[in-house]
């Protein structure tokens, strides 16, 4: 270990790491298999995938186990793993309208096109802690589901219609009613790749969306909450237009035929936030919409992202928002800087102590203290 004027300690470091491994891997409790983690801690696994920017449930589950349930540490492990992998392809542009929804709600409107599908949700029930003595008995529904999937047994439910599978967006209805501000441009710029080139303000919207998609969920929610509380003077009247969780197809170009080929599906959460335009230079007869999309099932993150997308488009450059979105919401950036504080800072702190002692000695000797010059804005402070 070599950092900030300190070195050595190798034996203690290895012993500490060994203690982590032994206590974790040989804890007096049954081993948690990868399958068990993906099935029982799916939301944590989804969060890790989203914050790492790598979609693969088993790999994320292994990282979650190695990190002993610390989602930020698991994301760090997953992102480190991703950095060792080659990029095989960039997919064909995915159209989120193709999503097979497994949950879809439109809080803004009672009767949208397609169903209001609650799916797997406990939003409408009270939070009561259950403390079972052991695993619950399988229900009849679970047994029936397994049998029907394994065999060709038909179910009683009517076949799913296309409108039930991929319902038309509520946003399309607003557009049809001419209630939506039109911002679509004729050009189609290449998206910014934040994994290859860090984004700095001013940045393309594609960079901000990518940064939010892999942001630390709590950081994104906190920034959203700050944005609506208004310390920066921005005023929002936000309604959640639509929220979806479902599967999207991933397609690449077939190297021999040149045609798109589906290589699998991945789950995402998508949100649309409707903003009431009320600025002096805005079309106050219309709404605008912010967009959020992230890997896995993470509704808080997608909703915060959608709200921050429209906030950034309206106020990003007249205040600090764009800078905050690009520079402060990445969990590895912020967490890494915080964690480095635990490393030995003996030399830097000793120099601070000596400065204080020198100033005190000068004061006791009756010398005038040196003039205080403010540090220039943006100066690095380490």
């Amino acid at each position: 270990m070599g950092y900030s004027g300190a070195r050595g300690g190798l034996e203690a470091i290895l012993a500490a790491e060994d203690l982590v491994r032994r206590k974790r891997d040989h804890a007096p409790a049954p081993w948690s298999s990868t399958e068990q983690i993906t099935a029982r801690f799916r939301l944590a696994v989804d969060r890790v995938m989203g914050e790492a920017g790598l979609y693969d449930e088993p790999t994320a589950a292994d990282a979650f186990r190695q990190a002993e349930g610390d989602t930020l540490e698991a994301s760090h492990l997953l992102r480190a793993q991703r950095s060792t992998l080659p990029r095989l392809a960039v997919s064909e542009p995915v159209d989120p309208g193709e999503m097979t929804v497994i949950r879809r709600i439109v809080p803004a409107f009672r009767e949208p096109d397609g169903p209001q599908l609650l799916g797997r949700a406990s939003d409408y029930t009270g939070r009561l802690l259950e403390r079972p003595d052991g695993p619950p008995k399988p229900s009849q529904k679970d047994s029936a589901t397994e049998e029907a999937t394994d065999t060709a047994e038909a179910t009683d439910t009517a076949e799913r219609t296309e409108e039930q599978r991929s319902p038309r967006r509520f946003m399309d209805l607003l557009r049809k009613m001419e209630l939506l501000a039109e911002g679509r441009a004729a050009d189609d710029p290449e998206p910014h790749d934040i994994t290859r080139k860090p984004a700095r303000p001013p940045a393309d919207r594609s960079a901000v969306l990518a940064a939010m998609a892999r942001a630390e969920s709590g950081a994104l929610v906190a920034l959203w909450y700050r944005s609506i509380l208004g310390p920066d003077g921005d005023v929002h009247e936000i309604t959640l237009g639509e929220l979806r969780h479902g599967r999207l197809p991933l397609r690449v170009r077939h190297p021999h035929t040149g045609n798109p080929v589906t290589v699998g599906e991945f789950r995402v959460t998508e949100a649309e936030a409707i903003e009431d335009l009320d600025g002096a230079d805005e079309d106050r007869t219309r709404f605008d919409i912010g967009y959020g999309l992230c890997f896995g099932h993470n509704e808080r993150k997608a909703i915060a992202m959608a709200n921050l997308d429209i906030a950034n488009r309206r106020f990003g450059r007249s205040g600090p928002l764009e800078q905050l979105l690009l520079l402060t919401i990445d969990g590895l950036d912020s967490g890494g800087f915080l964690e480095h504080l635990k490393l030995p800072h003996y030399v830097t702190f000793r120099s601070m102590v000596e400065r204080k002692q020198a100033m005190r000695a000068a004061a006791e000797a009756g010398e005038d203290p040196p003039a205080r010059a403010a540090e220039p804005a943006g100066k690095d402070c380490r």
């Binding site: 995938m49 989203g50 920017g53 790598l54 979609y55 693969d56 790999t59 991703r82 992998l85 080659p86 990029r87 392809a89 960039v90 997919s91 542009p93 995915v94 989120p96 097979t100 009672r110 209001q116 599908l117 609650l118 799916g119 529904k141 029907a148 999937t149 065999t151 047994e153 009683d156 439910t157 076949e159 799913r160 039930q164 911002g183 441009a185 189609d188 710029p189 994994t195 919207r205 594609s206 960079a207 990518a210 998609a213 991933l250 690449v252 077939h254 190297p255 035929t257 798109p260 080929v261 589906t262 290589v263 699998g264 599906e265 991945f266 649309e272 919409i289 967009y291 999309l293 992230c294």
Partner: protein, 144 residues
């Protein structure tokens, strides 16, 4: 009229097939001593998911999806496969099956049957999923 499965559709179904069924059939394909050359991989890497968002119709990069790809030559025909995840053996087997089907070799019909089984399984899984989801369709009452 006989339905001929497109190569892309077959690749998509082989990408979804179970590991064991792919390997078993690929082993059978090469059991006649046909020469197989591995041209690419199987290599684990990422496919970057590029999304065109629906509001301003701008593209952005959502993140990476773990994937594995392989390419082989079997009896003079090239086969290619890509599957999500990191299962190298399954991906290599899928590439062998793609080459077998492209070459019209003896097991080509069995590959079509495997693809039909995969498609049927998906259909049943989705029907079952809908049977579970449908009861959660809600129509809240509006208080005026």
């Amino acid at each position: 009229m006989t339905y001929v499965m497109s190569r892309e559709h077959r690749c998509a179904l082989l990408a979804e097939a179970e590991r064991a069924e792919l390997i078993e059939l690929a082993d059978a394909c090469i059991a006649d001593g046909a020469q197989v050359r591995v041209l690419v991989g199987p290599e684990v890497g990422c496919v970057t998911a590029q999304v065109r968002e629906p509001v301003l119709e701008q593209r952005f990069l959502l993140g990476d999806v773990l994937a594995c790809r392989a390419e082989v030559e079997l009896a003079g025909h090239r086969g290619w496969a890509m599957r999500l995840g990191d299962d190298r053996a399954a991906t290599l087997a899928a590439a062998v099956l793609d080459a077998e089907a492209q070459s019209g070799r003896p097991r080509a019909a069995e590959i079509d049957l495997l693809c039909e089984r995969v498609a049927g399984r998906r259909e049943r899984r989705e029907s079952q999923e809908w049977a579970e989801l449908a009861p959660t369709v809600v129509a809240f009452e509006e208080l005026t």
